[in-house]
């Protein structure tokens, strides 16, 4: 491979890999579909079915289902692969550092979905009644397009701290100084630093909630709104009695989707504090244990706990989904 800094040499080599990769993929898929199309009539239907679903199913089986099952097993082994029963879980619940991590994760999953949904909903209602809706929507939705790493950098500059008496370069501390306060080390002072990380996630997810809820609000029939209006309902009553029931399914989807995203959050903690100063969460700790420290057993145990936390949401969603397919 190209030497570090050999930009142009590396460039051509990399684009070569890109082209070869795309061509190889197209050739394999094209050949499979061509062959099953030319297969003898008997058994052709089965062959075609296999050609369409097998690539995806094999990849999912080998790359997701088998690994997930294996991780569940690894959670009961130590770093050399010996079976050690529940030791990893005992370790987890006796280490103050890991307990903090678990509590932090719960705080994240309690605050992020509720606050981003609430702010997103309020914002969706506000812009529904104001001019320049498109621009206002785009501004709040934009963080969705930004990587968590990018968001982490953006907010590190917002939170940047300089000792009292020096010129502040972070806007938040500057505002505090302007109103006569003392500059704070937002990312270092525990336990509040976790809240400041959570704000970043809320900043990202609010736009997602807002876009879905805004679409749902517009889906509430205008007739019902006008009727409640004629009945003398004020803005708030109308919101609680007409709008909220009308968008309930979307609210559920928004809260569950954001909850899952929050449980898995990793990049924000990684870029902003690296999990130091008592800010780690399960997803980050799992990475640290498994890939930085080589403790695959402990990392797997953390991943399993994460899965168990997501499990109720999975079950709930599968049930809703089953019901919908029956209706169809």
């Amino acid at each position: 491979m190209a030497a570090r800094g050999d930009f142009w040499g590396g460039l051509w080599e990399k684009f070569g890999i890109l082209i070869i990769g795309l061509a190889a993929f197209a050739a394999v898929i094209g050949l499979i579909l061509f062959l099953v199309d030319k297969a003898p009539k008997r058994g052709r239907d089965v062959l075609q079915l296999v050609a369409f679903v097998a690539p995806a199913l094999i990849l999912l089986g080998v790359g997701l289902i088998y690994p997930a099952v294996r991780t569940a097993y690894l959670a009961f082994t130590n770093r050399t692969g010996e079976f050690i029963g529940l030791d990893n879980f005992v370790w987890m619940f006796t280490q103050p550092q890991i307990i903090t991590t678990l509590i932090n994760t719960l705080v994240w999953v309690a605050l992020v979905p509720t606050l981003s949904t609430a702010i997103g909903l309020a914002y969706a209602v506000f812009i529904d009644r104001s001019r320049g809706e498109k621009v206002l929507k785009a501004l709040v939705f934009m963080p969705m397009a930004i990587s968590f790493v990018g968001a982490g950098i953006i907010w590190r500059f917002v939170y940047e701290y300089r000792a009292e008496g020096f010129e502040q370069i972070g806007i938040l501390n500057q505002i505090i100084v302007w109103v006569g306060g003392e500059p704070q080390q937002f990312l270092i002072n525990s336990p509040w630093n976790t809240l400041f990380l959570i704000i970043v996630m809320i900043w990202i997810q609010t736009g997602f909630a807002m876009v879905l809820l805004s679409a749902a609000i517009k889906g509430v029939p205008t007739e019902i709104i006008e009727a409640s209006r004629l009945d003398g309902a004020n803005g708030w009553q109308q919101f609680v009695n007409v709008t909220i029931p009308g968008i309930r399914p979307t609210l559920v989807v928004v809260v569950t989707t954001i909850s899952i995203a929050t449980l898995k959050v990793f990049d924000i903690v990684r870029t902003m504090t690296g999990g130091n100063y008592d800010t780690s969460v399960i997803a980050n700790e799992m990475y640290t244990q498994a890939f930085n420290r080589g403790e695959y057993g402990q990392g797997s145990a953390l991943a399993l706990v994460l899965f168990i936390m997501v499990l109720p949401i999975v079950i709930y969603n599968v049930r809703v989904m089953r019901k919908q397919r029956e209706i169809r």
Binding site: R70, L136, Y296
Partner: protein, 312 residues
């Protein structure tokens, strides 16, 4: 939510009051409800939401010494702009330089196949689940649906072992492509199935009556009709891959040969103090592609989002 409903919602997303009857009624309601307080509150929130990004954007054009010594807002009283930061992080080579040019190329080489592969495989599978009757189809589909919620963390360690010990490809582009393909498949299959299942059955049955095979139906009917859906989901997958850090960290090996921008950025942040004058420009280089995609294709992006998530 069905394809048709999602379309209707996307329709409503457009400026209200330009089309026929129902819209004008909506606009009447809207007019009456337009309140100055709501507008003011919306503007305040939009302002708060935009300031952090705006600040970083301004910083990226300030001279390095200024970034270190004063806040970006001082630019209004003491204007000084430069493109030096961008040149520095993109093209300066050397052991301590950011070298983002190379990582930018890596991100492209990772993201293009990692978008096309899962979309292609997912379209095929979605067609089979929607239009080929077979035993266990419903059960397998529900399983795939459930898989999109399983945290990636559950699969990382064994998959890495497969890549390094069985296939011997860990730390290469194909490893990252395959990982992204696998992790993207459940959601892509689910979303595309929602669209493809809504294609009127007469169209497909007519083609089959004329003797078309599944492959022919797939290429001549499904792909052309599903192109808008495929495009909007592709935008999603592309942004997801471009912005990903976890998969990249685990499977790319972390070298300048393979690792994407996000990983290099995360490294630079690791030495925040030392890299302070570089970070704003570096971050903006990583944001530029998603922002172009976002502002250019926002309509399709939103449509994909609505199709997937408002399954009410």
């Amino acid at each position: 939510m069905s394809y048709a409903n999602a379309e209707a919602v996307a329709e409503l997303d457009e400026p209200i009051g330009q089309k026929g009857q129902p819209q004008s009624k909506a606009s009447r309601v809207k007019q009456r409800l337009t309140s100055r307080w709501a507008t003011a509150a919306a503007i305040v929130i939009a302002f708060i939401w935009t300031i952090p990004t705006f600040g970083l954007f301004v910083s990226s054009f300030r001279p390095a010494d200024d970034i270190r010594s004063s806040g970006w807002w001082t630019i209004f009283t003491n204007p000084a702009f430069t493109l030096e930061n961008y040149g520095d992080v993109l093209f300066t080579s050397g052991a301590s330089s950011a070298n983002l040019g190379s990582y930018f190329i890596n991100s492209l080489v990772v993201a293009i196949p990692a978008t096309l592969f899962p979309i292609a495989l997912a379209t095929m599978a979605a067609y089979a689940f929607a239009w080929i009757k077979f035993k266990g189809s419903a059960a397998i589909f529900v399983l795939i649906f459930a898989l999109q919620i399983v945290p990636l963390q559950m699969a990382l360690i064994p998959l890495l072992q497969i890549f390094s010990q069985v296939l011997g490809i860990s730390g290469s582009f194909p490893a990252v492509w395959i990982a992204h393909t696998i992790f993207g498949l459940p959601l892509c299959i689910f979303l595309l199935h929602n669209f493809i299942a809504e294609i009127p059955s007469e169209v497909i049955e007519a083609a089959k009556m004329d003797g078309a095979s599944n492959t022919q139906v797939f290429f001549r009917i499904i792909i052309p009709l599903a192109t808008p859906a495929i495009a909007s989901i592709a935008i999603f997958q592309f942004l997801w891959v471009w912005n990903d850090l976890l998969v990249a960290l685990v499977f790319s090996g972390g070298t300048v040969d393979v690792a994407p921008l996000t990983q290099r950025l995360a490294e630079l942040v690791g030495n925040f103090g030392r890299n302070q004058e570089r970070l704003p420009a570096a971050a903006f280089i990583s944001l530029i592609i998603p922002l172009i995609v976002f502002f250019g294709l926002q309509r399709y992006f939103v449509r994909g989002l609505l199709a997937g998530s408002t399954k009410g």
